[in-house]
């Protein structure tokens, strides 16, 4: 009996140790970045453009660029993703075609980001002649974000009790009326949470924007959707690999801003989830 207990203790200790090995680096990494980058963060850093080949000044255009891309991604991926999920959950019959759609969603989510970059380049930049532009970049990021939004929306819709739909149909409502009045309103929290999460991922992506929109040095702000734009992830990549004599504090500071943006969006999504869980009426 005691050896079994002893073995359990040892085993649980190993498991805990493994978890520590996972968790500790996460905390240390973030502390490391924040500690080294904090000194360079100032209002000027956030609000100004880079000077002297990125070695001085601020990262304002990159911040703006990233925000613009996030908005663009949302505009394209949100409606399409939500409608697709509505189709899958509320309209599709259980047949091979539906399974094909679900398989496609899974596949889209597994495609490497650089392949999206290639696709975006050849379809949006070249074929549709949008050039390297905010439009091309946002469209590329949208396709990448679709699977996450579809999955989150699907789960939100499926969480709505079936009885709501049954009641609605039994009173003579059409399918769309049922979805609109008895399902969607109660799925919105989950949809919102999933959307913010997917956008936070899109904000941190570099590979899809490499050839579709990212500019190396563009101190002025974009004037139209056909302009190129700087973006935080790309900026960090460039200054850490291609600028000689780069003061590391600025690189760290850029990393801090990027992480802060992504974490902020994650936090919003978590808060939304908690807020709506409280208000649940069923």
């Amino acid at each position: 009996m005691s050896t079994a207990r002893g073995r359990q203790k040892a085993a649980f200790f190993i498991l805990g140790f493994a978890t520590l090995l996972v968790v500790l680096p996460i905390i240390l990494t973030i502390l490391y970045i924040v500690k080294n980058g904090f000194s360079a963060i100032s209002w000027e850093f956030i609000a100004q453009s880079p000077r002297n080949g990125m070695r001085q000044g601020g990262i304002f255009p990159a911040i703006v660029g990233t925000i613009v891309l996030i908005i663009g991604t949302m505009i394209f991926s949100l409606p399409l993703g939500i409608l697709s999920a509505i189709y899958l959950v509320e309209y599709a019959k259980d047949n091979a075609f539906t399974r094909l759609i679900k398989l496609s969603v899974v596949n889209l989510s597994g495609i490497p980001s650089i392949v999206y970059g290639l696709f975006g380049f050849t379809l949006f930049v070249l074929f549709l002649r949008l050039g390297t532009s905010i439009l091309a970049g946002a469209l590329t990021l949208s396709i990448m974000s679709l699977p996450v939004i579809i999955t989150a929306t699907k789960e939100a819709l499926e969480a709505v009790p079936y009885s709501f739909r049954e009641i609605s149909f039994s009173l003579g409502a059409t399918r769309w009326q049922t979805v609109r009045y008895c399902v969607l309103p109660y799925a919105i929290p989950g949809i919102l949470t999933g959307t913010v999460l997917s956008l936070s991922r899109a904000a941190g992506e570099t590979a899809p924007i490499l050839f579709t929109v990212a500019a190396f040095y563009l101190p002025r702000l974009p004037r139209s959707v056909f302009d190129q734009v700087m973006a935080l992830p790309y900026h960090l990549y460039v200054i850490s690999t291609q600028v000689p004599n780069m003061p590391t504090s600025i690189s760290f500071a850029t990393a801090v801003v990027l992480i802060a943006l992504v974490f902020l969006m994650n936090l919003v999504s978590i808060l939304l989830r908690a807020h709506f869980r409280k208000k649940k009426q069923w």
Binding site: E166, I167, F169, S170, G172, A173, Y181, C182, Y186, W282
Partner: protein, 251 residues
Amino acid sequence: MVEQTIIKVADLNSYFGPLQVLKKINLEIYRNEILGIIGPANSGKTTFLRALNRLNNLNDTYSQTGEILFEGRDISGISDSILRKKIGIIFALPQVLPMSIYNNVAYGPKVHDVTGKKVVSEIVENALKKAYLWDEVKDRLDLPAPRLSGGQQQRLCIARTLAVEPEIILYDEPCSGLDPISTAKIEDAMQQLKEDYTQILVTNNTKQASRVSERCGFFLMGEMVEISETGALFTHPRDERTDDYISGRFG
């Protein structure tokens, strides 16, 4: 008194996938009657009820053969929306939408394009009155419906069905989750509603069937074994199986 047939079911067979749930059902339902349907579990009573307003079709695997005529017209020629407006249903467990009492009842008229606050308010009030719920909730129509008691919720379900002005009301074991007082209130409501509506009551409770219904049909394993006036069915049933069920030899 001449009975007017409002629904005629001819040779109805129902299937869920390969499983046959109803076998050659033939029956007529008369206007303004209260028809009881009794039988043990899984005899197809619920499937039969839901075939009348095509709710079974919500299930992908459902198929049926045979004919159902509503006022002489084949129901397959009537749109889902209209059919379900005219034939309403009360489910076994009280199911309300997570909205206010008012909005629950107003939902039906809304999806049938009834507009105008005054008009809708009147409809809601009348429906709640007919369901014997108005007095209990008239001062708190904004209360979220899930906060009502089980019996009140079930009467709310009746009110919401009445709000779309059906001609037939189907009841699928409506009192199975309710206490005797709530059950009595609902049975009273059914008697009052008889004047304007045709009602079909599926119930596991033979005593309830004998209290409430005028005619009664006995379903067993997908077949309708017999149908006759309630009194006659309970005192001298024609079929042995009916007698066994009513006497409690099986259930």
